[in-house]
């Protein structure tokens, strides 16, 4: 999914990594060191014992996306990287929202929750916790509707992504690009497209 979000494009990248101490540190350190912007990062066990899967939301243009995937692949503990650009995939995020609720507002909130097919997972004297799953747009719409009641706390899992079993016309090649497929042709930005590389005047002499 590549969506325009203001000026910044967003891309989803999924990495299969070894489940070892320090792997998250290696990945995050690389991202920070190379000044990439990550919108969200979700990590969890995969179907294979010893391997975890990470879903990144990367902000930036195609050149940035390409560098992120290539630099991820360079990490020894990263087994495989898939860039979901042009791929038909399911995107989900889970959010917990604590919202103010009293006897008069509770029923109205419950109605909104039902419309969003969300769940109320905790009821207190003056607040509710709502669990909602969906894409970012759905999560954000729910919060917008809940705001007038007083949103007290939000927890979001970050985006998870999985490629769909059947690729429709939105799937460009039917397969997420992976480490084997795009080593040579992964370079997508063409020469003379006016991209300006990092400026040099502030570099030290020597």
């Amino acid at each position: 999914m590549t969506q325009k979000n203001g000026k910044m494009q967003q891309h989803t990248v999924v990495a299969l990594v070894y489940d070892r101490p320090g792997v998250l540190n290696r990945v995050v350190s690389m991202v920070r060191r190379r000044a990439f912007n990550i919108g969200s990062l979700a990590v969890g066990h995969s179907e294979t014992p010893g391997l975890s899967r990470m879903t990144f939301v990367v902000e930036g243009d195609d050149k940035i996306l390409e560098q992120v995937t290539k630099q991820l692949r360079k990490l020894v503990d990263v087994v495989r990287v898939s860039d979901l650009k042009g791929v038909n995939a399911v995107y989900r995020e889970l959010s917990l929202v604590r919202v103010s609720a009293n006897a008069t507002t509770r029923s109205e909130i419950i109605q909104i929750v039902d419309i969003f097919r969300a769940n109320i997972v905790d009821v207190g004297h003056d607040s509710l916790i709502i669990e909602v799953t969906g894409d970012e747009e759905k999560l954000e719409s729910l919060v917008t509707l809940l705001n007038p009641f007083g949103v007290l706390e939000i927890m979001r899992s970050g985006r998870l992504a999985m490629v769909r079993g059947i690729q429709g016309d939105s799937g460009a090649n039917g397969n997420p690009s992976d480490a084997e497929g795009t080593l040579t042709d992964g370079t997508q930005w063409a020469r003379q497209d006016g991209d300006e590389a990092k400026a040099t005047p502030l570099l030290p002499p020597g």
Binding site: V17, Y18, P21, G22, N25, R26, S29, M30, R33, K63, E66, Q67, K70, Q71, R73, K74, L75, V76, D77, V78, V79, R80, A179, E180, L183, T184, D185, G186, T187, Q188, W189, A190, R191, Q192, D193, G194, D195, E196, A197, K198, A199, T200, P201, L203, P204, P205, G206
Partner: protein, 564 residues
Amino acid sequence: MKLNGGQMICQALLNEGVDTVFGIPGGAIMPLYQMLPQFPGLRHILVRHEQGAAMAADGYGRVTGKVGVCFATSGPGATNLVTGLAGAMMDSVPMVAITGQVAREAIGTDAFQEADVTGVTLPVIKHNFLVMTAEELPRVMKEAFYLARTGRPGPVLVDVPKDVFVEEAEFDYPETVELPGYPPKMEGDPDAIRRAADLIAQAKRPVIFAGHGIIIADAYKELQEFAEKGQFPVTTTLLGIGSFKSDHVLNIGLPGMHGSAYANHMINDSDLLIALGMRFDDRVTSKVSLFAPNAKVIHVDIDPAELGKNVPPTVPIVGDVKHVLRQLIPLVEKADRREWLSHIDELQRNHPLWFEKDDVLRPQDVIQEISDSTDGKAIIATGVGQHQMWAAQLYKFKEYNSFITSGGLGAMGFETPSAMGAQVGLPDRTVWTIAGDGGFQMTLMELATMVENHIPVKIALINNNSLGMVRQWQDIFYNHDYVATLYSGNPDFVKLAEAYGLRGIKVTRKDEIGPAIKQAMEWNGPVLVDFQVEQTENVYPFIPPGTGVDNIVEDPRLVQKRVK
């Protein structure tokens, strides 16, 4: 066979073909050191600072192509390695560092001499391991060496808690590694190779950029065959010096910020760059949008992340440059490039690499004399700054892979320890350090190591009593405002050398250069020659950062001569 962790590491080093280790012991790594006498096949060279250990291992790795190895203890020992490791990473040098760590149960308690060494080094090296059981050591050592020397080489650190060195386990050294996330790709994609050959066939003004990858891949013969067959002029990047013979008619020398004006003009006029094992560093390109504006780019590198990182390639090829050249050579037609080559000849006549030759003792005179006296056959190790650029411009290398310099990181102080490592690796070669007085004072304690271990490095100290390159930038960008660049209290370097047990020679006049170099070469041991050179000399030509070849600054004295 049961061994303790320390014995396992020593045995693994021998299995990997290591014969030399540079290092300094300390509390946490002592159990490893105390095993060394049981392994006489390992020569340990006791340095005076851990940075020297890393840089010596670097010099050793560069000239031998083998993995350089260094040891350091936990905490300060390991943190002192960091500059050396970062430099080896930037310049793709195979290295394995073994560091002691505090005992397992003390990790995370801010114990004495504890530092998070895997954390500290993580962003500046290829990979690292914290080994929590002796059982893992054989696999980790195998993987460490495999990672260090394959693909794009680089430094790998193995951090071992003190009690793991003494823990016993079965030693069964693996034959192979299982690293599914690490697939170095050797052959170029055949389709990309064909597209590259098509671009070459259409090109009228092609240029080869030969980088360190040629040296690492041992692709000297392939490069020469490729260049000769296609009649491509070859420009060698700073780390590509020594990938192609200096005296070859197609060698156009150094490009970039302090490259010759003719090489830079040639690149600017080119219609096809064939970049082989290089990474378009900002010192090569200056402002990217002004760099070779009319050229298509074939970029070959074993590291996919380099393709498209700085300069967008027309045809990117991932692979080992030796393999790729072998694939490419049969597809290249013999070409007649007289017109293009004569244009380059003209550029060379109009924009020569020039320096003032008068009675003043100038740094360039020293380097030229060393080049002549050694017949271009020495190994030259440099620090970083003016002397480094003059060495790169003026030394006429007749042997492959003989220029050892801190390119990417630009670490001053690299000259002395790296020369020492290179001399240990290749004891039959003549090794000269071309040092600046600034960088030399950052690692000069290794003079003791040289004397102690009979390492006969010859040191040419290009002594201008200043941090010359920064002073030069003050001349150009800060109106000669010499903030913190001039030394007023430098030591007597000859006395200093003698105090360490070296021979020391002082040179203050131009006519003393030749005899001093001759004496140094005849002396059977390390020598320091203190060349007290003209302080105001600047490195030309110069492309100011953020600009392009149109802004190239040639030596004002040359420009004046031209006007006359």
